[in-house]
Symmetry: D2
Amino acid sequence: MQLGMIGLGRMGANLVRRLTNNGHTCVVYDRNRAVVKELEGRGVQGTASLDEFIAKLSKPRAAWVMVPAAVAGETVQELASRMEAGDIIIDGGNTYYRDDLERAKALKIRGIHYVDCGTSGGVFGLERGYCLMIGGEEDVVKHLDPIFKTIAPGIKSAPRTPGRNGASIPAEEGYLHCGPPGAGHFVKMVHNGIEYGIMAAYAEGLNILKHADVGLHPRAQDAETTPLRDPEAYQYQIDVGQVAEVWRRGSVVSSWLLDLTAAALVDDSELTGFSGQVSDSGEGRWTALAAIDEGVPTPVINAALFGRFESRGEADYANRLLSAMRKQFGGHDEKKE
Amino acid sequence: MQLGMIGLGRMGANLVRRLTNNGHTCVVYDRNRAVVKELEGRGVQGTASLDEFIAKLSKPRAAWVMVPAAVAGETVQELASRMEAGDIIIDGGNTYYRDDLERAKALKIRGIHYVDCGTSGGVFGLERGYCLMIGGEEDVVKHLDPIFKTIAPGIKSAPRTPGRNGASIPAEEGYLHCGPPGAGHFVKMVHNGIEYGIMAAYAEGLNILKHADVGLHPRAQDAETTPLRDPEAYQYQIDVGQVAEVWRRGSVVSSWLLDLTAAALVDDSELTGFSGQVSDSGEGRWTALAAIDEGVPTPVINAALFGRFESRGEADYANRLLSAMRKQFGGHDEKKE
Amino acid sequence: MQLGMIGLGRMGANLVRRLTNNGHTCVVYDRNRAVVKELEGRGVQGTASLDEFIAKLSKPRAAWVMVPAAVAGETVQELASRMEAGDIIIDGGNTYYRDDLERAKALKIRGIHYVDCGTSGGVFGLERGYCLMIGGEEDVVKHLDPIFKTIAPGIKSAPRTPGRNGASIPAEEGYLHCGPPGAGHFVKMVHNGIEYGIMAAYAEGLNILKHADVGLHPRAQDAETTPLRDPEAYQYQIDVGQVAEVWRRGSVVSSWLLDLTAAALVDDSELTGFSGQVSDSGEGRWTALAAIDEGVPTPVINAALFGRFESRGEADYANRLLSAMRKQFGGHDEKKE
Amino acid sequence: MQLGMIGLGRMGANLVRRLTNNGHTCVVYDRNRAVVKELEGRGVQGTASLDEFIAKLSKPRAAWVMVPAAVAGETVQELASRMEAGDIIIDGGNTYYRDDLERAKALKIRGIHYVDCGTSGGVFGLERGYCLMIGGEEDVVKHLDPIFKTIAPGIKSAPRTPGRNGASIPAEEGYLHCGPPGAGHFVKMVHNGIEYGIMAAYAEGLNILKHADVGLHPRAQDAETTPLRDPEAYQYQIDVGQVAEVWRRGSVVSSWLLDLTAAALVDDSELTGFSGQVSDSGEGRWTALAAIDEGVPTPVINAALFGRFESRGEADYANRLLSAMRKQFGGHDEKKE
């Protein structure tokens, strides 16, 4: 079927490619003319303006918005202002689900349908397919089923779960209608929150391995430094990159994130190309906010989130307060390392 | 080559099967005669006593101990007392690496070699192979290479990591000599610590999804209950089992542990068969102890560990203290829910 | 000066007492006639309706609202609908500061001033005075200074901070104008978040002392239970109540919360009267939300908050998931303790 | 009574002063002759060698060791080698209680008594008295009672706990015999663990206040930065030093540590004199180790401990791993701030 795509960054462009590779047709638009040109060809119709984009879509129109979260809201509005009742806007980015709720409500008044679609797959999605978490009205999501089915990885991409038999359900194909508007991004948000936790678990564990040699190093002997009681128990010089590699096969912690970690460590096990300032782009925070609102304890996900804050120096003032307190009660001068 | 196996529980028996299925021969012993009988046959020689076990092994003997951690120490001693210089004991269980250090040192005096081997693979290892993390002397580990190579899953069990070319290294086959005695169990310990963190990340995230409907439920209105500010944002009734399923394909959080989670949720998404008292069998604690000794922050792994403690009621006295303090300063009566 | 007080619960009534004991006059109202009657007398004028309450206040009126958070919003509205430009409403409860922002904005249109005042002091405030954290317009807060000064504990209630000399500032008297509307409750919110952290620190530490005898007790010996490596190091039977008492004098952890803990432990060091379901009434959550919005790491405050969630069984589903995963990968049956 | 004191640093010297000010006599020794000279005078007998020190003590000798943890062990040994059965060594430093267990055991063979005494009071103890947590044999601790009683702050230093009547118990005087050898340092260790938690609670909370103005600052608009949804809710410029001051009076979070925080902020609310590298000198780690051994969850204390590790860059490798993973799966370039 036909789909309009606005935003031809890495993700948007790859979605178009995956769709047209599989028999769908796409009308595409991006502020950047060059990327439009690049995609034009078999099954892809480029457009030079939003007006042209809208004009080329058959009714009921279906337009997928794949732009940075910061401009998603205005893009949806600009699209909607050119659409009519029965048309569909799909937000495939990392929008906060509360924005979905507001947008869906505003569009509904005009009869325009809003579908939110959390899209996971990173740079590998073109080939492997994307995992889709979808929110929206039942019949609208059903109408878009051919699109979702093509974008998703398909049942063959993983062994079938024991206990699941007969005809596959969409979840097994790699896409799921999670509920009413916002549900898709809600599930995607939590998905990313989990990702923060998993990433941190690996990073912490490998950091322990990296420091398994502390017993080999001399240690300051002063009142501000805890002595190492059993240095002989920390004499291991472990090749962290090889450990990541060996865990990829047969181990309970094998995962895609581990594959990526192993890949990152192949060239440079010291990771000297990174400074360790870890960004967080929203989903982790929103997950934490939702957990608190719900009253659900999420110590692991929060620890992972806070670790990122700390990596960017956000605990700095707090740490200086701690040093100041120590100075006050014990006369401890801060140690410069 | 020939390997002796002591302890024919699920893991030990499957190791023997995997070895003999691939051309090795095994001499086996277990206090439970029945399981010995069951294994006897092609390539497997059962024995009725430790003495017989030792007698049937060709020199230099190689005996793999696969018994519960609680009895591993005495088993190693009983074996060693019957062995001679040049023989090898492999501890394939979940021994604390500090015990390895002591045992290796004690055995070395008598010329007996000690190899520790962390073995991951759970109930799936017979078919998929086991991921092996090995500690011990270089030449001894090398001598056992045919055994390790057969037990491990092999390079085909995962796509090759980009950047790794040419002849495979053992890590790519799924086994790794991590360092001197204790190093294998050290790496396995951290592996399990990571596993705690990953498991908790999934569990927390899915718990958020499970409670995404809090806005649909009436809420007590009293001074002891936080009002839900935006109930309309928590009206989702999400099928947690289907979410686990959909994430298995194409998503960044796909992993073996997720596969298992999806399987567990197929039959009973409410998990009514479990009470939620989560055991911890040592590795998580030891990981946490090592991190503290090293001075490495591991907030995620620790949060996962403490979550298990809490699930078993170990925060009970602390919680009663909190209620008592609240009663003291605010006159708050504890709310019974 | 004259102050109106709506809501004569423990806090409201004690504020009235403290004010009238010190020369101010109060007009009071509560839906419960009995508590109004009880307060009437020297300096206190009871009223039977909001209309009468408003009528008895001299202009510009100043009315302090001291009602549960759940009804504070409507009470402010009912008051405001009877007031005129120049009048002042003070919300002295535990309102979420974002509600303050909205209320202040709405009232400003009509020329009514809104002051938010976080009030700490618990059941001891009548005698000791209340710590006040105030948000509102500069001149309005200044106008109310005599009220705040009387309610606050006064500079004598603590030794002067070294470095503070000359005339006292309000902060030293125990009240502080923190900023524009909402600032008072913002600071009070964080105050309570800190309180959660401190309470949990004590509770955790005392829980460690309580369990310092684990080495004296027999321990299950099975694959699901971590053996205690050094039982001889955990043979202490510590009188937790006496420890709380001894720390009250001279120790770095002495505090009011510790005083209260010691008091709670005098009668019943086992705290058998409590079940350990710890409520959270909002401020802790809001603190956590603010930290996340700001990107500030607050692992301790969050851990304290999540501990309360867990004490109420909110991790239950997550824990059952963990048990289910363990069953799947290791065949571990859940241990019932 | 007479007490020997070895180690005349700030703590040791002040203990001697407090004792001799109150009628006891002290024999003192320190490697540094100058500090010995400085103390000599009324009630204080200086010595120039350990032999002389021992010679001047009346039998049964009582010698208090107040030296850095790193040299406490050898000092105890040197003392013991010059002592005889019935003599007493008191370790008043911050020794790990497991070392106490070993030392007490070794000395017992020779009939020498070992008493461990956790001493809290910081630089204020000379005037305010020290809180003492004592481990050792019943009758030996009893024998030293006059010493402990004088060092402790006394019952007047805090209001009596409601419910405690009649003659004071030692805990109310500020010293407590906690149990057999090691118990004193065990309790002191946990005391310091709690201190870590309390300090971090304050630091985190004040850090939230410090950043309550994030809505006033421009924010990067890119895919790596979470947008601030409600900037108007974060427009507060809060005087953190004044907040610390106001909480000192009447508030539930008042404490000695808060007094110290307020003092630190008087001169320099930006704390520009500190870099924020927070030391940990052992007790926090040991507390965490004990909690894990006992199976007691201590998320708050651990978060505080890990915060210190992080402040010293110990999460660095872990953070670079996170950035590397993000680069791998999402093509995210690390943002340099």
